[in-house]
Amino acid sequence: MGMTIAEKIIAAAAGVESVKPGDIHTVELDRLMSNDGTTHLTIDMYNNLKKPHIADVNKLVWIVDHNVPCDSVKTAASHKKMRDFAKANGIKFYEGAGVCHQVMMENHVTSGELIFGADSHTCAYGAVGAFGTGVGCTDYLYAMVTGHSWLLVPETLRFNLTGKLNKGVTARDLILTIIGQIGANGANYMAMEFGGEGLKTLNMSDRISICNLCVEAGAKTALMEVDDITIGYLKEHGRKPKHSFKSDDDAKFAKVYDIDLATIKPIVAKPHFVDSVVDAKECVGIHIDEAFLGSCNNGRIEDLRAGAAIIKGKKVHPLVRFLVVPASAAVYKQALDEGIIDTFMEAGAIVMNPNCSVCWGSCQGVIGENEVLISTGTRNFKGRAGHKDSFVYLASSETVTASAIKGEIATADMV
């Protein structure tokens, strides 16, 4: 019986020949990522253990990204707890280097690994064919202390991509379309696997953007076939694959979707659900107060380039705050080298340090009562970006930048 990519990674991590959906296996974890969202809680629990110890400190990566730099005394205390613990125990620690998933992709993740992250968007690592899955801090603690955990083998939804995205249409429009189609729990407990000829037309930034958002359909993980683009990306970052898995020809999928990339259009997800998607044209003209270009979903150099190409020589609408937040320090530096930061600042954008920013409604750019944000962030839940009575529309870097110029929702062809 053939296996899917998810099944092959779990089998390898469990040290067994084959697995099938519904089986529960004890698995060795390759990496354990945690950020300042919940690490302080993990430390409190750890200190309460009888014989606290870390199974393999080399597997741990801790990243301060959600509230950096600190915005309050309370946050400072939580960061200090995390920083001191990391130092005392020799844990790889980043602060200000960028949003955790971008930092992990740039520096750590490789194909075929099994990774727990104490953050729901850990599924982003599937872009290089790694099984990343989000867990809470108790599951994280257990894995940190024992080096392993248990996993239920998920069923897999397979997405066969063909064709090529049209100009002005992005990978984010693709994944929002898919989430709209299958619903916010359409992949609950399942793996979403992407392959086919169309995948070869998508670069690594596109792939991260797609995998990152799969949790918004409830997915346990997202996985892409390893190809020349994957190997090239890893090589560029000084890494080699652990495994280069593809699904077997006779692998069993819960459902197979065939998607022609040429049929995808610019999409907007309306408040307050990520699967509440419509053709972007249906939202044109909706007033906005703030626009956000950034996050682990769309803060890479490719996104900043796309935004800069649209806004170059133009101005941010006088009544709009346009927040531009590179996803990592490496992205920020690259954008500086390319003159992209100059372009945004000349247009009147507010360029900020790499962090999660208004995507999770803390630290920077929080919106007030009845305000409207258009965002490349990951979620548009009620109150997600600030006041409980505020509104978040999700869209691509192109649509967000065009909207910042117009002061209302607009697509790139309108500016």
Partner: protein, 163 residues
Amino acid sequence: MDKFTGKVWVLGDDIDTDIIIPTEYLALKTVEDMAPYAFSPLRPELASKIKPGDIIVAGKNFGCGSSREQAPEIIKTLGVKCVIAKSFARIFFRNSINNGLLLIESGQLHDVVTEGDKVTVTINKCIEHNGNEYPIAALPQNLVDIINAGGLVKAMRKLNGLD
């Protein structure tokens, strides 16, 4: 915990973790401090009205969104006996067990129940409401043990003779 009866609070589909506890309150020191703000974007009055032993009944995809473990912790802190939903998001499901919050899937109850009704849950058997019985799946004993102990860490401490 084999059988219990509780008053029901009814919520809809896709109750996300930012509804359960908005980001701005996560910086508060303890879950007890956060608890009054539970569900505040949707129903600001709810946290003050929930009494120990009450039951939350919701639609599909309860707990979708973030991996923040404060979400199930806060529901438990409010004294909620269990959450009964059409389905749960997977990270929230694991986090709930790890924090000793009982979750029960029922595809039917949400469609027939009204806020304020009383329901009786018999673990591993059924939910009774208005004279009707709705079957529920059995929980493996190891998960029941974790929930009864108040979560995974407490269960491990008990197992190791620490508590």
